[in-house]
Amino acid sequence: MSTHDSSAALDDRPAKTHEPTSGQTIGPFFAFGLNYPKMHEVAFPHSAGAIVLEGTVYDGAGHPIPDACIEIWGADTDGSIPRGRGSRRRDDHTFTGFGRSHTNDEGHFEFWTRNPGSVDGEAPFFAAVVFARGLPNKLHTRIYLPEDAERLAADPLLSSLDESERATLVATRGADGSLHFDIRLQGERETVFLTF
């Protein structure tokens, strides 16, 4: 894993040889293809360390989007990368790090998961990807935990943003330990999306 950080090794990589397949919209009728039991239960509900991560997806008119699919992928609380299998067939105890939630008629999504820990000293975040009918291709973003001001201030992405942009990437913490994170595909408080 340390090789990921080695820029010297990066310089030795060969040129890409294959053109990528282009993405397309998820369309309106994905639920019957992508649904599976407990898909939003990254952690077993109410187990030790389990929290709710929830929010609403909005369009440019401020209306909730009822046909979006949100996926999250995050480290475990100790900062380790989950390698356990079973994201598709939950065994109710393995933390696999991955979950999927389809928005309901009110545009709401919800996960049971754990707070990701810091990996390699970085500000902890969930990687998230957004799909929706009407959205021509996927969108990547990050859901940062609101605590640890020092690491958030040092984060290369967050520190490159102005205050209002930065606010779109940091979740808010509820009194019960839950995380709230809204996603705005368009408009004044449009979520900052990422390309790599």
């Binding site: 090789t3 990066l10 990589r13 060969p14 294959h18 053109e19 990528p20 397949t21 282009s22 993405g23 397309q24 919209t25 369309g27 309106p28 009728f29 019957f32 293809g33 992508l34 440019g60 209306h63 909730p64 989007i65 009822p66 046909d67 996926e71 992928w73 995050g74 990368i81 989950p82 390698r83 299998r85 994201s87 598709r88 696999t96 790090g97 991955f98 008629d105 545009g107 990701p116 990996v119 970085e122 975040f125 990687a127 929706a132 009407g134 959205l135 021509p136 291709n137 290369p156 992405l157 490159s160 943003l161 595909l185 368009q186 449009e190 900052v192 999306f193 990422l194 390309t195 790599f196």
Partner: protein
């Protein structure tokens, strides 16, 4: 919330509070606001492709799939207006969820065996490899598909197309790639699908594909099409992909060697996931 038994109060309650907050049912959102003609949509498509070419020539970074693509009417309020931030993928983004052969039963890749009878339509197979930008096979990756039936009808409860449902066809399947990155589905060729983007709008026959790569940045959902479909130049969704070369890559090849005598038509299609340079390194600890 308590419901008062007084009828007049209930009425006042429902009209002043509940209706104001109720979100439109998703099926009512499926029709575009203006229902333009096909000619107008086709013109808009051509104009946007030409515009993308101009921006490219001017040195702009233009994505392969255009997000701001008004001929696909429901995208108008759902595409970001700001350019995405270019970032180096970090830590978790260079890994992806671990899947293995045991996560999916073999029978889940045969969409013709999910019911007691044979589905209606043209039986077909589609197979290929999942590769990265360097042509390396990606093993143990989850591939999920969903599609309409032979009549162009989705089993989804909100599909209002008055074509028959097939009691022997659901239209969803999944598989985990093997050590060569290989996957294969047996299914029924989907029919073209009418929708309400504009007057006389029809989607070319397609199968939706959802694929994971070895890094989360490679996650992709796309659609595969079939050779020679006359609907290609008319379809705003297919044409959200700005270049002909990239659009062609979404069309499976008919392969007579994969056609099984007196049984099924054979198609081949490879999927290449994109990835930043850092994905050249394979994460350790891949599942066997």
């Amino acid at each position: 919330m308590t419901v008062d038994s007084d009828a007049s109060e209930q009425e006042a309650f429902s009209s002043s509070v509940v209706l104001d907050q109720t979100v439109a049912a998703p099926e009512t959102l499926l029709a575009s606001h203006d229902m333009p003609t096909q000619n107008q949509i086709t013109q808009e498509i051509n104009d946007l492709h030409a515009d993308a070419e101009r921006r490219l020539a001017a040195g702009e970074r233009v994505p392969s799939t255009l997000y701001d693509f008004a001929p696909y009417r429901s995208s108008i309020l759902r595409h970001p207006t700001k350019n995405p931030r270019l970032v180096d993928p970090e830590t978790i983004e260079l890994w992806s969820p671990a899947y293995g052969q045991r996560d999916v039963a073999l029978i889940e890749s045969d969409l013709t065996l999910q019911h007691t009878g044979e589905p209606q339509g043209e039986r077909m197979t589609i197979e290929g490899r999942l590769l990265d930008s360097w042509g390396r096979p990606l093993r143990n990756q989850l591939v999920e598909i969903w599609q309409a039936n032979a009549a162009g009808r989705y089993i989804h409860q909100r599909d209002q197309h008055p074509a028959p449902l097939d009691p022997n066809f659901t239209g969803a399947g999944r598989i985990v790639t093997n050590d060569d990155g290989y996957w294969k589905f047996t299914t029924i060729k989907p029919g073209p699908y009418p929708w309400k983007n504009h007057i006389n709008a029809w989607r070319p026959a397609h199968i939706h594909f959802s694929v994971f790569g070895s890094a989360f940045t490679q996650r992709i959902i796309t659609q595969v099409y079939f050779p020679g479909d006359p609907l290609f130049p008319l379809d705003p969704i297919y044409n959200t992909i700005r270049s002909q070369k990239d659009r062609d890559r979404l069309i499976a090849s008919y392969d007579h060697d994969l056609t099984v005598p007196e049984f099924s038509m054979g198609y081949r299609w490879d999927i290449v996931v994109d990835g930043p340079d850092a994905t050249w390194f394979e994460p350790e600890g891949g599942e066997a």
